[in-house]
Subunit: 294 residues, 2 copies
Protein backbone atom coordinates (compact mmCIF):
# COMPACT_ATOMS: atom_id res chain seq x y z
CA UNK A 1 0.00 0.00 0.00
CA UNK A 2 1.70 3.20 -1.23
CA UNK A 3 0.49 5.90 1.17
CA UNK A 4 1.43 8.73 -1.21
CA UNK A 5 -0.66 7.23 -3.98
CA UNK A 6 -3.49 6.54 -1.53
CA UNK A 7 -3.53 10.16 -0.34
CA UNK A 8 -3.16 11.52 -3.86
CA UNK A 9 -6.12 9.45 -5.10
CA UNK A 10 -8.23 10.54 -2.12
CA UNK A 11 -7.37 14.18 -2.76
CA UNK A 12 -8.31 13.87 -6.45
CA UNK A 13 -11.64 12.13 -5.77
CA UNK A 14 -12.61 14.53 -2.99
CA UNK A 15 -11.57 17.74 -4.72
CA UNK A 16 -13.31 16.84 -7.98
CA UNK A 17 -16.55 16.19 -6.11
CA UNK A 18 -16.16 19.29 -3.89
CA UNK A 19 -15.76 21.35 -7.04
CA UNK A 20 -19.05 19.93 -8.36
CA UNK A 21 -20.97 20.36 -5.10
CA UNK A 22 -19.85 23.86 -4.06
CA UNK A 23 -21.32 26.92 -5.83
CA UNK A 24 -18.85 28.45 -8.32
CA UNK A 25 -17.03 31.72 -7.72
CA UNK A 26 -19.26 33.36 -10.34
CA UNK A 27 -22.45 32.55 -8.38
CA UNK A 28 -23.87 35.52 -6.42
CA UNK A 29 -22.84 36.65 -3.90
CA UNK A 30 -19.44 36.14 -5.52
CA UNK A 31 -17.42 37.44 -2.54
CA UNK A 32 -18.91 34.76 -0.31
CA UNK A 33 -18.37 31.92 -2.76
CA UNK A 34 -14.80 33.08 -3.38
CA UNK A 35 -14.17 33.12 0.37
CA UNK A 36 -15.63 29.63 0.80
CA UNK A 37 -13.56 28.21 -2.05
CA UNK A 38 -10.41 30.04 -0.92
CA UNK A 39 -10.33 27.98 2.25
CA UNK A 40 -11.77 24.72 0.88
CA UNK A 41 -9.25 24.60 -1.97
CA UNK A 42 -6.21 25.58 0.09
CA UNK A 43 -4.43 22.28 -0.37
CA UNK A 44 -4.11 19.87 2.49
CA UNK A 45 -4.00 16.10 2.58
CA UNK A 46 -7.76 15.67 2.97
CA UNK A 47 -7.23 13.12 5.74
CA UNK A 48 -10.82 13.20 7.01
CA UNK A 49 -12.40 12.54 3.59
CA UNK A 50 -9.78 9.82 3.01
CA UNK A 51 -10.69 8.14 6.30
CA UNK A 52 -14.36 8.32 5.35
CA UNK A 53 -13.76 6.83 1.90
CA UNK A 54 -11.48 4.07 3.20
CA UNK A 55 -13.86 3.19 6.04
CA UNK A 56 -16.48 2.56 3.36
CA UNK A 57 -14.01 0.43 1.42
CA UNK A 58 -13.22 -1.61 4.57
CA UNK A 59 -16.93 -2.40 4.90
CA UNK A 60 -18.07 -2.94 1.30
CA UNK A 61 -14.97 -2.85 -0.91
CA UNK A 62 -16.04 0.39 -2.60
CA UNK A 63 -15.62 4.07 -1.73
CA UNK A 64 -18.46 5.40 -3.92
CA UNK A 65 -21.30 5.40 -1.36
CA UNK A 66 -19.23 7.61 0.97
CA UNK A 67 -18.12 10.28 -1.52
CA UNK A 68 -20.64 12.98 -0.57
CA UNK A 69 -20.11 12.24 3.12
CA UNK A 70 -16.36 12.69 2.58
CA UNK A 71 -17.02 16.11 1.05
CA UNK A 72 -19.35 17.05 3.91
CA UNK A 73 -16.57 16.26 6.41
CA UNK A 74 -14.04 18.38 4.55
CA UNK A 75 -16.25 21.46 4.30
CA UNK A 76 -17.21 21.05 7.95
CA UNK A 77 -13.51 20.80 8.85
CA UNK A 78 -12.83 23.91 6.78
CA UNK A 79 -15.49 25.91 8.63
CA UNK A 80 -13.86 25.03 11.95
CA UNK A 81 -10.45 26.20 10.66
CA UNK A 82 -11.86 29.53 9.44
CA UNK A 83 -13.62 30.22 12.74
CA UNK A 84 -10.71 28.96 14.89
CA UNK A 85 -8.33 31.34 13.12
CA UNK A 86 -10.45 34.44 13.89
CA UNK A 87 -8.98 37.22 16.07
CA UNK A 88 -11.41 36.38 18.89
CA UNK A 89 -10.25 32.73 18.83
CA UNK A 90 -6.69 31.63 18.02
CA UNK A 91 -5.93 34.83 16.08
CA UNK A 92 -3.86 33.16 13.36
CA UNK A 93 -2.59 35.00 10.29
CA UNK A 94 -1.28 31.95 8.45
CA UNK A 95 -2.90 28.63 7.53
CA UNK A 96 -1.35 26.04 5.22
CA UNK A 97 1.21 28.67 4.26
CA UNK A 98 -1.38 31.22 3.10
CA UNK A 99 -3.06 34.19 4.79
CA UNK A 100 -6.08 33.07 6.81
CA UNK A 101 -9.59 33.71 5.49
CA UNK A 102 -10.30 36.80 7.60
CA UNK A 103 -6.94 38.30 6.59
CA UNK A 104 -8.05 38.16 2.94
CA UNK A 105 -11.82 38.72 3.11
CA UNK A 106 -12.30 40.53 6.43
CA UNK A 107 -13.74 39.21 9.64
CA UNK A 108 -17.42 39.54 8.77
CA UNK A 109 -17.18 37.63 5.50
CA UNK A 110 -14.92 35.00 7.12
CA UNK A 111 -17.51 34.29 9.82
CA UNK A 112 -20.22 34.04 7.16
CA UNK A 113 -18.09 31.82 4.91
CA UNK A 114 -17.72 29.46 7.89
CA UNK A 115 -21.47 29.57 8.55
CA UNK A 116 -22.21 28.81 4.90
CA UNK A 117 -19.74 25.88 4.83
CA UNK A 118 -21.28 24.40 7.97
CA UNK A 119 -24.70 24.65 6.33
CA UNK A 120 -23.31 23.19 3.10
CA UNK A 121 -21.95 20.18 5.02
CA UNK A 122 -25.49 19.14 5.90
CA UNK A 123 -26.69 19.80 2.35
CA UNK A 124 -23.99 17.42 1.10
CA UNK A 125 -24.89 14.84 3.72
CA UNK A 126 -28.49 14.92 2.48
CA UNK A 127 -27.09 13.60 -0.81
CA UNK A 128 -25.52 10.47 0.68
CA UNK A 129 -27.52 7.43 -0.48
CA UNK A 130 -29.59 5.53 2.09
CA UNK A 131 -29.09 1.77 2.45
CA UNK A 132 -30.83 -1.10 4.26
CA UNK A 133 -29.38 -0.02 7.64
CA UNK A 134 -28.89 3.75 7.55
CA UNK A 135 -30.48 6.80 5.96
CA UNK A 136 -30.06 10.60 5.94
CA UNK A 137 -31.68 10.85 9.38
CA UNK A 138 -28.83 8.73 10.81
CA UNK A 139 -26.10 10.57 8.90
CA UNK A 140 -27.34 14.00 10.02
CA UNK A 141 -27.78 12.90 13.64
CA UNK A 142 -24.23 11.48 13.62
CA UNK A 143 -22.55 14.57 12.15
CA UNK A 144 -24.57 16.96 14.31
CA UNK A 145 -23.66 15.00 17.44
CA UNK A 146 -19.93 14.72 16.68
CA UNK A 147 -19.63 18.39 15.76
CA UNK A 148 -22.08 20.00 18.20
CA UNK A 149 -21.98 21.75 21.56
CA UNK A 150 -20.98 18.63 23.54
CA UNK A 151 -18.18 17.68 21.15
CA UNK A 152 -16.38 19.69 18.48
CA UNK A 153 -17.74 23.19 19.26
CA UNK A 154 -17.58 22.33 22.97
CA UNK A 155 -13.90 21.42 22.61
CA UNK A 156 -13.16 24.81 21.09
CA UNK A 157 -14.90 26.54 24.02
CA UNK A 158 -12.84 24.48 26.52
CA UNK A 159 -9.73 25.41 24.53
CA UNK A 160 -10.59 29.13 24.73
CA UNK A 161 -11.28 28.86 28.45
CA UNK A 162 -8.06 26.91 29.06
CA UNK A 163 -5.72 29.49 27.57
CA UNK A 164 -3.28 31.00 30.01
CA UNK A 165 -3.95 28.57 32.87
CA UNK A 166 -2.57 25.12 33.66
CA UNK A 167 -4.72 22.17 32.63
CA UNK A 168 -4.89 18.63 33.95
CA UNK A 169 -4.33 15.73 31.56
CA UNK A 170 -8.07 15.00 31.77
CA UNK A 171 -8.96 18.55 30.81
CA UNK A 172 -6.54 18.46 27.90
CA UNK A 173 -7.95 15.12 26.79
CA UNK A 174 -11.48 16.61 26.83
CA UNK A 175 -10.27 19.41 24.55
CA UNK A 176 -8.57 16.95 22.20
CA UNK A 177 -11.61 14.68 22.17
CA UNK A 178 -13.77 17.58 21.09
CA UNK A 179 -11.49 19.44 18.73
CA UNK A 180 -9.94 16.52 16.86
CA UNK A 181 -11.26 13.10 17.77
CA UNK A 182 -14.95 13.86 17.26
CA UNK A 183 -14.57 14.76 13.58
CA UNK A 184 -12.29 11.78 12.90
CA UNK A 185 -14.88 9.56 14.59
CA UNK A 186 -17.53 11.11 12.36
CA UNK A 187 -15.36 10.47 9.29
CA UNK A 188 -14.89 6.73 9.81
CA UNK A 189 -18.39 6.19 11.21
CA UNK A 190 -20.15 8.04 8.37
CA UNK A 191 -18.03 6.15 5.82
CA UNK A 192 -19.01 2.89 7.49
CA UNK A 193 -22.68 3.85 7.74
CA UNK A 194 -22.84 4.90 4.08
CA UNK A 195 -21.48 1.42 3.24
CA UNK A 196 -24.09 -0.31 5.47
CA UNK A 197 -21.68 -1.41 8.21
CA UNK A 198 -22.94 -4.05 10.65
CA UNK A 199 -23.04 -3.03 14.33
CA UNK A 200 -19.80 -4.99 14.91
CA UNK A 201 -18.06 -3.26 11.99
CA UNK A 202 -19.27 0.17 13.12
CA UNK A 203 -17.97 -0.49 16.65
CA UNK A 204 -14.56 -1.45 15.21
CA UNK A 205 -14.46 1.74 13.13
CA UNK A 206 -15.42 3.78 16.20
CA UNK A 207 -12.52 2.33 18.22
CA UNK A 208 -10.15 2.94 15.32
CA UNK A 209 -11.43 6.53 14.98
CA UNK A 210 -11.20 7.31 18.69
CA UNK A 211 -7.64 5.99 18.96
CA UNK A 212 -6.51 7.62 15.75
CA UNK A 213 -8.06 10.95 16.72
CA UNK A 214 -6.28 11.11 20.07
CA UNK A 215 -2.97 9.97 18.55
CA UNK A 216 -3.39 12.56 15.78
CA UNK A 217 -3.72 15.41 18.27
CA UNK A 218 -0.79 14.22 20.40
CA UNK A 219 1.41 14.16 17.29
CA UNK A 220 0.16 17.66 16.39
CA UNK A 221 1.24 18.88 19.83
CA UNK A 222 4.65 17.22 19.43
CA UNK A 223 5.17 18.75 15.97
CA UNK A 224 4.26 22.19 17.30
CA UNK A 225 7.37 21.88 19.48
CA UNK A 226 9.77 19.96 17.22
CA UNK A 227 8.99 21.06 13.66
CA UNK A 228 9.74 24.24 11.70
CA UNK A 229 7.24 26.73 10.23
CA UNK A 230 8.57 25.93 6.72
CA UNK A 231 7.78 22.22 7.08
CA UNK A 232 4.50 22.73 8.96
CA UNK A 233 3.13 25.60 6.84
CA UNK A 234 1.99 27.43 9.98
CA UNK A 235 3.46 29.25 12.96
CA UNK A 236 5.17 26.92 15.48
CA UNK A 237 5.82 27.23 19.19
CA UNK A 238 2.51 29.07 19.23
CA UNK A 239 0.95 26.82 21.86
CA UNK A 240 3.84 27.49 24.24
CA UNK A 241 3.78 31.20 23.41
CA UNK A 242 0.17 31.56 24.54
CA UNK A 243 0.78 29.19 27.48
CA UNK A 244 -1.53 26.61 25.91
CA UNK A 245 -1.34 23.19 27.50
CA UNK A 246 0.04 20.44 25.24
CA UNK A 247 0.45 16.72 25.78
CA UNK A 248 4.27 16.72 25.73
CA UNK A 249 4.31 19.65 28.17
CA UNK A 250 2.07 17.78 30.60
CA UNK A 251 3.41 14.22 30.42
CA UNK A 252 6.85 14.67 28.82
CA UNK A 253 7.94 14.12 25.23
CA UNK A 254 8.77 10.42 25.58
CA UNK A 255 5.50 9.53 27.30
CA UNK A 256 3.58 11.51 24.67
CA UNK A 257 5.27 9.59 21.84
CA UNK A 258 4.63 6.29 23.63
CA UNK A 259 0.96 7.10 24.09
CA UNK A 260 0.52 8.04 20.44
CA UNK A 261 2.13 4.71 19.49
CA UNK A 262 -0.02 2.69 21.91
CA UNK A 263 -3.21 4.37 20.68
CA UNK A 264 -2.26 3.71 17.08
CA UNK A 265 -1.70 0.03 17.92
CA UNK A 266 -5.07 -0.20 19.67
CA UNK A 267 -6.78 1.40 16.68
CA UNK A 268 -5.07 -0.98 14.24
CA UNK A 269 -6.05 -4.02 16.28
CA UNK A 270 -9.72 -3.03 16.16
CA UNK A 271 -9.66 -3.38 12.37
CA UNK A 272 -9.14 -7.16 12.61
CA UNK A 273 -12.85 -7.65 11.95
CA UNK A 274 -12.26 -6.62 8.32
CA UNK A 275 -10.63 -8.80 5.62
CA UNK A 276 -6.90 -8.06 5.25
CA UNK A 277 -7.12 -6.53 1.76
CA UNK A 278 -9.94 -4.23 2.79
CA UNK A 279 -8.30 -2.86 5.93
CA UNK A 280 -4.88 -2.23 4.34
CA UNK A 281 -5.60 1.41 3.52
CA UNK A 282 -6.82 2.30 7.03
CA UNK A 283 -3.73 0.60 8.48
CA UNK A 284 -1.46 2.55 6.15
CA UNK A 285 -3.15 5.84 7.10
CA UNK A 286 -2.67 5.19 10.83
CA UNK A 287 1.04 4.41 10.30
CA UNK A 288 1.46 7.49 8.20
CA UNK A 289 -0.22 9.76 10.76
CA UNK A 290 1.93 8.34 13.58
CA UNK A 291 5.20 8.83 11.72
CA UNK A 292 4.52 12.08 9.86
CA UNK A 293 6.83 15.03 10.38
CA UNK A 294 4.38 17.73 9.28
CA UNK B 1 -59.11 33.88 15.89
CA UNK B 2 -57.48 35.69 18.83
CA UNK B 3 -53.94 36.48 17.64
CA UNK B 4 -52.63 37.00 21.19
CA UNK B 5 -53.81 33.58 22.25
CA UNK B 6 -52.47 32.06 19.04
CA UNK B 7 -49.01 33.55 19.63
CA UNK B 8 -49.04 32.69 23.31
CA UNK B 9 -49.90 29.05 22.58
CA UNK B 10 -47.19 28.86 19.92
CA UNK B 11 -44.65 30.33 22.32
CA UNK B 12 -45.57 27.81 25.03
CA UNK B 13 -45.44 24.79 22.71
CA UNK B 14 -42.15 25.86 21.13
CA UNK B 15 -40.37 26.88 24.32
CA UNK B 16 -41.34 23.70 26.17
CA UNK B 17 -39.95 21.59 23.34
CA UNK B 18 -36.82 23.77 22.95
CA UNK B 19 -36.16 23.30 26.64
CA UNK B 20 -36.33 19.52 26.15
CA UNK B 21 -34.18 19.43 23.03
CA UNK B 22 -31.38 21.83 24.03
CA UNK B 23 -28.66 20.65 26.45
CA UNK B 24 -29.16 22.09 29.95
CA UNK B 25 -26.99 24.82 31.43
CA UNK B 26 -25.39 22.22 33.72
CA UNK B 27 -24.13 20.14 30.76
CA UNK B 28 -20.42 20.64 29.99
CA UNK B 29 -19.15 22.92 28.67
CA UNK B 30 -21.53 24.99 30.80
CA UNK B 31 -20.41 28.38 29.45
CA UNK B 32 -21.40 27.34 25.94
CA UNK B 33 -24.77 25.93 26.93
CA UNK B 34 -25.51 29.03 29.01
CA UNK B 35 -24.64 31.23 26.04
CA UNK B 36 -26.86 29.19 23.70
CA UNK B 37 -29.80 29.31 26.11
CA UNK B 38 -29.27 33.00 26.88
CA UNK B 39 -30.13 33.89 23.30
CA UNK B 40 -32.69 31.14 22.60
CA UNK B 41 -34.72 32.00 25.71
CA UNK B 42 -34.59 35.76 25.28
CA UNK B 43 -38.31 36.17 24.75
CA UNK B 44 -39.64 37.04 21.34
CA UNK B 45 -42.87 36.10 19.63
CA UNK B 46 -41.52 32.94 18.01
CA UNK B 47 -43.10 33.91 14.70
CA UNK B 48 -41.10 31.43 12.60
CA UNK B 49 -42.01 28.41 14.73
CA UNK B 50 -45.60 29.61 14.79
CA UNK B 51 -45.68 29.83 10.99
CA UNK B 52 -44.22 26.34 10.80
CA UNK B 53 -46.77 24.90 13.22
CA UNK B 54 -49.71 26.65 11.58
CA UNK B 55 -48.60 25.63 8.09
CA UNK B 56 -48.79 22.03 9.31
CA UNK B 57 -52.27 22.68 10.73
CA UNK B 58 -53.41 24.17 7.41
CA UNK B 59 -52.38 20.94 5.68
CA UNK B 60 -53.42 18.23 8.16
CA UNK B 61 -55.34 19.94 10.97
CA UNK B 62 -52.59 19.17 13.53
CA UNK B 63 -49.39 20.94 14.54
CA UNK B 64 -47.68 17.92 16.15
CA UNK B 65 -45.69 16.63 13.14
CA UNK B 66 -44.02 20.05 12.76
CA UNK B 67 -42.96 20.64 16.37
CA UNK B 68 -39.28 19.68 16.03
CA UNK B 69 -39.06 21.54 12.73
CA UNK B 70 -40.46 24.62 14.48
CA UNK B 71 -37.71 24.34 17.11
CA UNK B 72 -35.05 23.89 14.42
CA UNK B 73 -36.20 27.13 12.77
CA UNK B 74 -36.04 29.06 16.03
CA UNK B 75 -32.52 27.93 16.95
CA UNK B 76 -31.38 28.61 13.39
CA UNK B 77 -32.93 32.09 13.60
CA UNK B 78 -31.18 32.63 16.94
CA UNK B 79 -27.79 31.73 15.46
CA UNK B 80 -28.26 34.35 12.74
CA UNK B 81 -29.13 37.00 15.35
CA UNK B 82 -26.03 36.20 17.45
CA UNK B 83 -23.70 36.35 14.44
CA UNK B 84 -25.42 39.43 12.92
CA UNK B 85 -24.94 41.35 16.17
CA UNK B 86 -21.15 40.75 16.26
CA UNK B 87 -18.78 43.72 16.08
CA UNK B 88 -17.60 42.69 12.60
CA UNK B 89 -21.24 42.60 11.38
CA UNK B 90 -23.94 44.99 12.62
CA UNK B 91 -22.12 45.67 15.91
CA UNK B 92 -25.24 45.77 18.06
CA UNK B 93 -25.14 46.01 21.87
CA UNK B 94 -28.83 45.45 22.45
CA UNK B 95 -31.24 42.73 21.30
CA UNK B 96 -34.80 42.33 22.57
CA UNK B 97 -33.95 44.83 25.30
CA UNK B 98 -30.99 42.82 26.65
CA UNK B 99 -27.23 42.96 26.03
CA UNK B 100 -26.30 40.96 22.94
CA UNK B 101 -24.62 37.55 23.31
CA UNK B 102 -21.05 38.74 22.68
CA UNK B 103 -21.52 41.59 25.19
CA UNK B 104 -22.24 38.99 27.88
CA UNK B 105 -20.08 36.01 26.88
CA UNK B 106 -17.37 37.59 24.74
CA UNK B 107 -16.92 37.40 21.00
CA UNK B 108 -15.29 33.95 20.80
CA UNK B 109 -18.00 32.18 22.80
CA UNK B 110 -20.73 34.10 20.93
CA UNK B 111 -19.41 32.89 17.57
CA UNK B 112 -19.24 29.33 18.91
CA UNK B 113 -22.73 29.53 20.45
CA UNK B 114 -24.00 30.50 17.00
CA UNK B 115 -22.10 27.62 15.39
CA UNK B 116 -23.52 25.17 17.93
CA UNK B 117 -27.08 26.42 17.43
CA UNK B 118 -26.76 26.09 13.65
CA UNK B 119 -25.55 22.51 14.14
CA UNK B 120 -28.35 21.85 16.64
CA UNK B 121 -30.93 23.03 14.09
CA UNK B 122 -30.02 20.11 11.83
CA UNK B 123 -29.99 17.70 14.79
CA UNK B 124 -33.56 18.80 15.59
CA UNK B 125 -34.60 18.46 11.95
CA UNK B 126 -33.34 14.87 11.98
CA UNK B 127 -36.04 14.23 14.60
CA UNK B 128 -38.93 15.35 12.41
CA UNK B 129 -41.01 12.28 11.45
CA UNK B 130 -40.98 11.14 7.84
CA UNK B 131 -44.28 10.66 6.00
CA UNK B 132 -45.45 9.19 2.70
CA UNK B 133 -44.17 12.22 0.74
CA UNK B 134 -41.18 13.64 2.64
CA UNK B 135 -38.37 12.43 4.85
CA UNK B 136 -35.33 13.85 6.68
CA UNK B 137 -33.39 14.06 3.40
CA UNK B 138 -36.02 16.53 2.09
CA UNK B 139 -36.18 18.52 5.34
CA UNK B 140 -32.39 18.91 5.52
CA UNK B 141 -32.08 19.84 1.85
CA UNK B 142 -34.83 22.45 2.29
CA UNK B 143 -33.36 24.10 5.39
CA UNK B 144 -29.80 24.01 4.03
CA UNK B 145 -30.96 25.62 0.78
CA UNK B 146 -33.03 28.38 2.38
CA UNK B 147 -30.31 29.28 4.88
CA UNK B 148 -27.14 28.70 2.81
CA UNK B 149 -24.72 30.77 0.76
CA UNK B 150 -27.22 31.61 -2.00
CA UNK B 151 -29.95 32.67 0.42
CA UNK B 152 -29.79 33.60 4.13
CA UNK B 153 -26.00 33.76 4.59
CA UNK B 154 -25.70 35.29 1.12
CA UNK B 155 -28.17 38.02 2.10
CA UNK B 156 -26.05 38.93 5.09
CA UNK B 157 -22.97 39.23 2.87
CA UNK B 158 -24.88 41.51 0.45
CA UNK B 159 -26.02 43.54 3.45
CA UNK B 160 -22.41 43.94 4.69
CA UNK B 161 -21.26 44.91 1.20
CA UNK B 162 -24.13 47.38 0.77
CA UNK B 163 -23.37 49.44 3.85
CA UNK B 164 -22.41 53.04 3.15
CA UNK B 165 -23.34 53.02 -0.54
CA UNK B 166 -26.64 53.60 -2.33
CA UNK B 167 -28.54 50.48 -3.40
CA UNK B 168 -31.10 49.92 -6.13
CA UNK B 169 -34.53 48.55 -5.21
CA UNK B 170 -33.47 45.24 -6.81
CA UNK B 171 -30.34 45.05 -4.68
CA UNK B 172 -32.31 45.79 -1.53
CA UNK B 173 -34.89 43.17 -2.50
CA UNK B 174 -32.08 40.60 -2.90
CA UNK B 175 -30.88 41.39 0.63
CA UNK B 176 -34.41 41.12 2.03
CA UNK B 177 -35.04 37.88 0.16
CA UNK B 178 -31.96 36.37 1.72
CA UNK B 179 -32.05 37.81 5.22
CA UNK B 180 -35.74 37.48 5.97
CA UNK B 181 -37.83 35.80 3.29
CA UNK B 182 -35.74 32.64 2.99
CA UNK B 183 -36.22 31.58 6.60
CA UNK B 184 -39.94 32.40 6.54
CA UNK B 185 -40.22 30.32 3.36
CA UNK B 186 -38.40 27.51 5.15
CA UNK B 187 -40.79 27.82 8.11
CA UNK B 188 -44.02 27.41 6.15
CA UNK B 189 -42.57 24.89 3.69
CA UNK B 190 -41.08 22.66 6.41
CA UNK B 191 -44.34 22.81 8.35
CA UNK B 192 -46.21 21.80 5.20
CA UNK B 193 -43.73 19.05 4.33
CA UNK B 194 -43.86 17.58 7.86
CA UNK B 195 -47.64 17.39 7.44
CA UNK B 196 -47.34 15.67 4.01
CA UNK B 197 -48.50 18.64 1.91
CA UNK B 198 -49.50 17.91 -1.69
CA UNK B 199 -47.51 19.74 -4.40
CA UNK B 200 -50.41 22.20 -4.79
CA UNK B 201 -50.55 22.88 -1.05
CA UNK B 202 -46.77 23.31 -0.85
CA UNK B 203 -46.86 25.79 -3.74
CA UNK B 204 -49.57 27.78 -1.94
CA UNK B 205 -47.51 27.85 1.27
CA UNK B 206 -44.45 28.96 -0.72
CA UNK B 207 -46.34 31.92 -2.23
CA UNK B 208 -47.70 32.83 1.21
CA UNK B 209 -44.18 32.59 2.70
CA UNK B 210 -42.52 34.63 -0.04
CA UNK B 211 -45.10 37.43 0.20
CA UNK B 212 -45.15 37.42 3.98
CA UNK B 213 -41.36 37.48 4.18
CA UNK B 214 -41.00 40.51 1.94
CA UNK B 215 -43.85 42.34 3.69
CA UNK B 216 -42.27 41.49 7.07
CA UNK B 217 -38.96 43.12 6.13
CA UNK B 218 -40.61 46.21 4.64
CA UNK B 219 -42.54 46.70 7.89
CA UNK B 220 -39.28 46.21 9.83
CA UNK B 221 -37.68 48.99 7.78
CA UNK B 222 -40.68 51.26 8.38
CA UNK B 223 -40.63 50.61 12.13
CA UNK B 224 -36.92 51.38 12.27
CA UNK B 225 -37.88 54.92 11.19
CA UNK B 226 -41.21 55.44 12.96
CA UNK B 227 -40.98 53.51 16.24
CA UNK B 228 -39.15 54.15 19.53
CA UNK B 229 -36.41 52.06 21.14
CA UNK B 230 -38.68 51.39 24.13
CA UNK B 231 -41.41 49.88 21.96
CA UNK B 232 -39.02 48.05 19.64
CA UNK B 233 -36.60 46.74 22.30
CA UNK B 234 -33.63 47.65 20.11
CA UNK B 235 -31.83 50.72 18.81
CA UNK B 236 -33.80 52.65 16.16
CA UNK B 237 -32.72 54.94 13.35
CA UNK B 238 -29.71 52.64 13.15
CA UNK B 239 -30.19 51.87 9.46
CA UNK B 240 -30.17 55.57 8.57
CA UNK B 241 -27.22 56.19 10.90
CA UNK B 242 -25.02 53.71 9.04
CA UNK B 243 -26.45 54.84 5.69
CA UNK B 244 -28.11 51.48 5.21
CA UNK B 245 -30.64 51.37 2.41
CA UNK B 246 -34.24 50.79 3.50
CA UNK B 247 -37.44 50.34 1.55
CA UNK B 248 -39.09 53.56 2.70
CA UNK B 249 -35.89 55.50 1.94
CA UNK B 250 -35.79 54.13 -1.62
CA UNK B 251 -39.45 54.21 -2.64
CA UNK B 252 -41.04 56.57 -0.08
CA UNK B 253 -43.04 55.75 3.05
CA UNK B 254 -46.45 55.59 1.34
CA UNK B 255 -45.28 53.31 -1.45
CA UNK B 256 -43.55 51.06 1.09
CA UNK B 257 -46.74 50.73 3.14
CA UNK B 258 -48.76 50.06 -0.03
CA UNK B 259 -46.34 47.35 -1.14
CA UNK B 260 -46.43 45.62 2.25
CA UNK B 261 -50.24 45.66 2.05
CA UNK B 262 -50.33 44.32 -1.51
CA UNK B 263 -47.89 41.53 -0.67
CA UNK B 264 -49.93 40.55 2.37
CA UNK B 265 -53.05 40.38 0.20
CA UNK B 266 -51.28 38.20 -2.38
CA UNK B 267 -50.06 35.88 0.36
CA UNK B 268 -53.54 35.59 1.89
CA UNK B 269 -55.13 34.81 -1.49
CA UNK B 270 -52.71 31.89 -2.02
CA UNK B 271 -54.16 30.18 1.05
CA UNK B 272 -57.54 29.68 -0.69
CA UNK B 273 -56.55 26.07 -1.42
CA UNK B 274 -56.99 25.26 2.29
CA UNK B 275 -60.36 24.84 4.09
CA UNK B 276 -61.45 28.08 5.84
CA UNK B 277 -61.08 26.77 9.40
CA UNK B 278 -57.58 25.46 8.71
CA UNK B 279 -56.19 28.64 7.15
CA UNK B 280 -57.62 31.01 9.77
CA UNK B 281 -54.43 31.07 11.87
CA UNK B 282 -52.12 31.82 8.93
CA UNK B 283 -54.49 34.62 7.86
CA UNK B 284 -54.48 36.06 11.36
CA UNK B 285 -50.67 35.97 11.50
CA UNK B 286 -50.32 37.84 8.21
CA UNK B 287 -52.75 40.55 9.41
CA UNK B 288 -50.92 40.85 12.68
CA UNK B 289 -47.51 41.19 11.00
CA UNK B 290 -48.81 43.88 8.62
CA UNK B 291 -50.36 45.97 11.37
CA UNK B 292 -47.84 45.48 14.18
CA UNK B 293 -46.18 48.51 15.70
CA UNK B 294 -43.17 46.68 17.13
Amino acid sequence: MDIKELISNGVKLTEAQLDKLLPGEDVAPTTLHKAMRYSVFAGGKRIRPLLCLEAARAVCGDTTPALNAACALEVLHTYTLIHDDLPSMDNDDLRRGRPTNHKVFGEGVAILAGDALLTEAFAMLAQVPANELYNVRDYVAELAYQTGSRTLVGGQVLDLEGEGRSLSVDELRAIHNGKTTALIMAAVRLGGMAAAASPEQLAALSTYGRCLGLAFQIIDDILDITSTPEVLGKSIGKDAAVAKATYPALVGMDAARAEAKALTEEGRAALDVFPAERRAALLAISDYLLNRDY
